[in-house]
Symmetry: C2
Subunit: 348 residues, 2 copies
């Protein structure tokens, strides 16, 4: 998925998604039908003739758009692979390999040493091999295409949420965006809070083990990169369902880190709902799986918080938002123009 | 493969390949051994559990490095996919799908319309589906990762050339570089010649059908993107063999287009040997396949020119170069610093 902009140079107007759809999606769609492809969401699925499908995802990170020019290259190496691994996690795929397309303005040995170390450490952790790539001169641009394996027909998709399903989110939300506001000097925070939340911004941990464990358990899943409300809408749209989110419950849950729990509820809620760059998983699962999911959370030592339920009505209700000054209608309570830049990563 | 620079902003020194090798190849190599991957050359091979391997290649094109800022976007769309299809051709793979990572400085509808049309026309021709991608704001950068299918164990590789094999090249060589010299005003040529050679520079035709037909016929193959001598050296190195090229025979063969045939032999030879951006296939095949290859050339309406033979001795001899003022020793006759920018596309 595209990552939200920590440092967007300028924000193009909405409607660009339609442009991309017009030029690429719709025009290439007939071609996709002619070849034996299963198409996923966070990943595309390439069907082979074996027992597994290959989940494929591409993500590009650009200086000035996705990261600051002076970012620690070790952390950048980590994050570039992490956001791709997160897409595999969203599909329940086991990481297998990746290619790296590196456009560099110059050859800086110290930078390459640190960048490759960050990349390698995470690749090693997930047994994901670098199998090729391309290095070119130009403005810094890092493109990764990642491949994962998933048993045929078992890939998690955005479509599939059913009425009455519980909606879950892994880990904590909003910390990455909170750190960004701190780094930008837009919010004052103590050094310890900045350090803790900055870790979430710069070194996200893709939920690969969770994704694989959710095969056959979750009805629908995706990773959270653009903020909960915006991403949830994608899942609901793909599933043709609605959802009711319990805001008060969410604010008291493990979904809030200590850093955000210490803030005013309005701030915390805004970060949780709109944050972005979270790289947690959002999934829906039938109520019959509650005990299983509780055990899974313990086994993975990862909070899996029920935030609400899937409804028939295609709207999204934020129940309890009134209590902190909202109306419960996200289109009124929130500025939902979150997708600052076009992403059609998963358009098929 | 990386494409040679039609407009290289500056040329880094050699030795950079070693840097990349040091930071990525060698450090990631042990990881590749842990996963079930067959590794090719122009493509990496992902082995599934079915009857086919998946050939994968990534290529990035950057404004100012690979193309002029004012390039016709229709042609650019064509070429970006063509260079990737050429990598599949080199492996004998059938094109299946691709992802597109597009970094754009702005959203220019006319540009997108033309770019996507060029891309789509070629994709359609080869039944290759766009299955995903990522669009980001930043300096123009076009990254494609392409997937092709090849029956297990039948992928063509650079390694495998055997002593006594004939060496063949498809189509004509040197036209793309000749056009570039014309466009840069470094060589004067009539408009008709410029038009004909420019077509080869801007709209290369990947030799996909040839690559597939060479499965089980060629002992080794690769595509020509960096110039015949430089690329041939890669093939010979991978095969641990040498070669003897018959320069005089080559200059009289179909390998020369009319445009180059009209020039002094030195000019023609330089373009043929060092040209780059050719996207023809270079392959070695046993003499027993001569009749078959002749028929293949007729069937595909594509010249397949024997340019020499594979030798035991690991050197590369240019026989007959003396007659046009050379020594026959390519390291003396030619400036071989052709790989102006690092490519480790196929390093495993």
């Amino acid at each position: 998925m595209s990552t939200p902009s920590p440092h967007p140079p300028s924000q193009p107007a909405m409607g660009e998604f339609d442009l991309i759809d017009r030029f690429f999606t719709s025009r290439f769609a007939h071609l996709a039908k002619e070849v034996p492809l299963g198409i996923g969401d966070d990943c595309a699925l390439l069907s082979g003739d074996g027992a597994h499908d290959l989940a494929v995802s591409s993500d590009t990170m650009v200086e000035g758009t996705h990261f600051f020019a002076d970012v620690d290259p070790f952390k950048l190496g980590h994050k570039c692979l992490a956001v791709n691994l997160s897409d595999l996690a969203a599909c329940g795929a086991r990481p297998k390999a990746f290619t790296l397309a590196l456009t560099l303005p110059s050859l800086d040995e110290a930078w390459l040493e640190a960048f490759s170390s960050g990349l390698l450490a995470l690749a090693q952790q997930h047994g994901c091999a670098l199998i090729g790539g391309d290095t070119t001169r130009g403005p810094l641009n890092i493109g990764i295409t990642i491949f994962g394996e998933v048993p045929k027909g078992q890939a998690l998709k955005r479509a599939g949420a059913q009425v009455g399903d519980d909606l879950y989110v892994s880990g904590t939300l909003g910390d990455a965006r909170w750190a960004l506001l701190g780094l930008q000097g837009r919010v004052k925070m103590d050094p310890e809070t900045l350090k803790a939340t900055r870790q979430r911004l710069e070194m996200p941990e893709p939920r690969v083990a969770l994704g694989m464990a959710l095969r056959g358990v979750a009805h629908a899943a995706m990773d959270l990169s653009d903020g909960l409300v915006g991403d949830l809408r994608h899942l609901l749209k793909a599933s043709q369902k609605g959802a009711r989110i319990d805001v008060q419950r969410m604010l008291k849950s493990e979904l809030l880190s200590n850093a955000l729990r210490a803030r005013a509820p309005q701030d915390a809620l805004e970060m949780v709902l709109k944050g972005g760059d979270d790289y947690e998983l959002l999934f829906s699962a039938p109520q019959a799986q509650r005990a299983h999911i509780e055990l899974l959370a313990k086994r993975l030592a990862l909070p899996l918080t029920a935030i609400g339920e899937v409804t028939e009505n295609e709207g999204l209700e934020l129940r309890g938002a009134q209590d902190i000054g909202g109306t419960g209608d996200p289109s009124r309570d929130l500025d939902l123009n979150l997708n600052q830049w076009v992403s059609y990563d998963h358009f098929l």
